[in-house]
């Protein structure tokens, strides 16, 4: 194709036969791509450099074209580009998972997740779980015949982006609810806007405050820290421990845990000691706890110090059972403890053990595994549950639901057996997952496995 050819004509030639609509059976994205492919023909930006005539470099093509030609070319290219952009935004923008075409209008669930950035893996797991759930619901006929439409936006681990994405969703009346954000700080940032817009949020965060700031639109799809402490209290009571020594980190998770554990009526704390999140030695704290003569230890920390604490306790000759919460669930703690004796007396809370799936976890596990190709994690399970809870809320509702209907529907969910938890919401209780959501794990080799308690 010569440079003199009118690019506007090229584009029109592609678009006209289909009259602005994609051919039947061709996906929007493929169609947009096919336009782009035809546009690629003349390598227009590879003009000859004036400094080195032999070099083909990327530069503005001003030396070989007449001005008029350039203008015509730009107009044509721009209009083509806008057209493609239109298709992209309409069709493949975000990651929509629309199911088989149905007569009934889709129910739209928006999601704002962290898909890029240092901790993107968590958001990606959540997205994979949510997409698998939407596909499974639509395959089974949707919500009373309405397919679930999931629209995912990336916040790049920045609460400001989350707020921007949320503002866009808020003005779209077809968005009935939101799943997100991956991080509690971003959820807190969009919470006031959600309250204003009346959009219910299915929040995958453990952050205690999100459901305790008087915002009636936030529903937690995760285990709250107070529920973790409830599970700990039940175990302490069942095993009859009377004197608990508590070590906690000085970050928000540790402090909140300290407040909840020391005020629990079932747990008698004889001594509590704090340590910095990045602590590399807990011997001094353990020495103090030891002198209070406890019959069990609780190591409550979201950082890497739990394994160090287990090792130091062994070195001090403390032969006691040790309990930790969900946040200690990281193989780094097993590595840090380095095979010491106390490792065998350590129990920690968990939600999902791939080797011992609970009946309520099997379907979701297989579905996510087959669509994403890896063993689902806790975050994929939460993504799965969020979409199913959304469906659950609308299952008994009208054909033309509002955002308020989703809120009302969620508040009627009782004992829903999800993959990452067992959920109950009430008018004043939005924490969702109850202590039955959790299992006790123990270290085995370099991984965790279900422990009988």
């Amino acid at each position: 194709m010569s440079l003199a050819a009118n690019p506007v004509q090229q584009v029109v030639a592609v678009v006209e036969p289909v009259g602005g609509c994609r051919p039947a059976g061709v996906h929007e994205c493929e169609f947009a791509l096919s336009i782009l492919t035809t546009l690629r023909a003349p390598p227009i930006l590879y003009a000859k450099s004036d400094r080195d005539p032999s070099a083909r470099v990327l530069q503005w093509p001003r030396f070989h074209w007449k001005e008029q030609e350039v203008e015509r070319f730009l107009v044509g290219r721009m209009s083509a580009l806008l057209l493609v952009l239109g298709f992209v935004l309409a069709g493949c923008g975000g990651a929509s998972s629309s199911g088989a075409p149905t007569a009934k209008s889709p129910f739209k669930l928006a999601a704002i997740l962290t898909l890029t950035g240092a901790s993107a893996i968590f958001g990606q797991y959540e997205r994979d779980g949510a997409q698998a759930a939407a596909a499974a619901i639509n395959k089974a006929g949707g919500i009373n015949g309405h397919p679930v439409e999931l629209v995912v936006e990336d916040d790049a681990q920045n609460p400001n982006n989350a707020v921007l994405a949320f503002s866009r969703f808020a003005t779209d009346d077809s968005v009935l609810a939101l799943f997100g954000d991956t991080f509690g700080s971003a959820t807190l940032a969009i919470a006031p806007l959600a309250q204003k817009a009346g959009i219910p949020i299915l929040a995958p965060n453990a952050t205690y405050s999100i459901t305790h700031v008087g915002n009636p639109y936030i529903f937690r799809v995760a285990v709250a820290e107070n529920v973790e402490v409830d599970a700990l209290a039940q175990l302490v009571k069942k095993r009859g421990y009377k004197r608990i020594g508590l070590l906690y980190s000085t970050d928000a998770y540790g402090q909140q845990g300290h407040d909840l554990i020391t005020t629990s009526p079932l747990i008698n704390v004889v001594d509590s000691e704090s340590f910095a999140l990045a602590a590399t030695d807990l011997t001094a704290q353990l020495t103090r706890v030891k002198s209070a003569n406890p019959d069990a230890l609780v190591l409550w920390d979201s950082g890497p110090a739990v394994g160090i604490g287990i090792k130091d306790a062994t070195q001090l000759g403390m032969d006691l059972p040790i309990f930790s919460g969900l946040s200690a669930n990281s193989p780094g703690n097993i590595a840090a403890a380095n095979g010491v004796a106390e490792l065998n007396k350590w129990l920690l809370l968990g939600l999902l053990d791939p080797k011992n799936l609970l009946p309520r976890q099997k379907v979701g596990f297989e579905a996510i595994k087959s669509s994403s190709g890896y063993d689902p994690t806790l975050n994929s399970a939460i993504g799965w549950d969020a979409v199913y809870l959304f469906a659950q809320a609308l299952m008994k509702g009208a054909d033309n639901p509002t955002r308020q209907d989703v809120s009302n529907g969620l508040e009627k969910v009782t004992n829903y057996q999800g993959m990452g938890g067992v959920y109950t919401y009430t008018k004043n209780g939005h924490d969702g997952a109850n202590p039955d959501s959790m299992i006790w794990l123990k270290a085995e080799g370099d991984t965790f496995t279900t422990a009988a308690v």
Binding site: T283, A284, T287, P304, G307, G317, A335, A336
Partner: protein
Amino acid sequence: VTVIANESLQFLFTGLAIGSIYALVALSFTFIFNAGGVVNFAQGEFVMLGGFFAVTLTTWQVPLWLAAAGAVMGVGLVAGVIYMTTIRRLPNASTFTLIMITLGLAIVIHTIAQLVWGTQAKTLPELRGGEPFRIAGASITAHAILVMAVSATLMVMLYLFFKRTRAGQAMLAYSDNREGAALVGVNAKRVGLAAFILGGAVGGLAGFLVTPITTVNYLIGLTFTLKGFSAAVLGGFGNAGGAVAGGLLLGLLETFSTGILPSGYEGLVPLTILVLILMVRPGGIFGSRALFN
């Protein structure tokens, strides 16, 4: 008070064990400062790299002593490359510019470490495992005693190196006055490179030795930098004996304040005492580089 009396021996042991880690890091700070004239805020990252190199080597079934050698040489090499690509290209940079550069390098190094080794903590077997020694109800591991012994040996070796050898004297001269040293025939570029390679190697050795105690993760370098720098300043910056004394003192202060004070206040006291000591003796306990001048 009874608690303090009963447990003070344990606090003493723990304080000395932690303190000898700080002392090791402070020594590697001292080395690069004395030899290259650079306050290297990426020093803690060298310690972290030493730990990770040794961890990776042991996962390849390399014997522990060879992993130690690998950590020492590997970090020395990395430090040398860093010197050649950054600091050497800025012969006239001021102290503040160099501090900013090393801080930037620290962020680069720990980000790369996160990409290579992930975010999980890793550890090494202790050089001498088994049951810890128990003395009057207090316990201390053989490995902690070993770390103390290495700190002491390294301190003596550094002292002799800077005091007795021509290379050491040349390095001291270079860090004191670059132009003057060049005038009397010190090859500035070679001395700067040697300082970084050896400083990196000392950091790598520290990393290998402390990993069984503290574990290693990609963010731990900053902790080492802060503690090692505080220890070096406390003892007298640039002074090998001061680095060890400062490290042990800081470790003891931290452990005893954790043991004696109410929970939550333990972070406050060591730094308060550090500030007080520096107000009375601005050059640190032993004075900056007093042993060498």
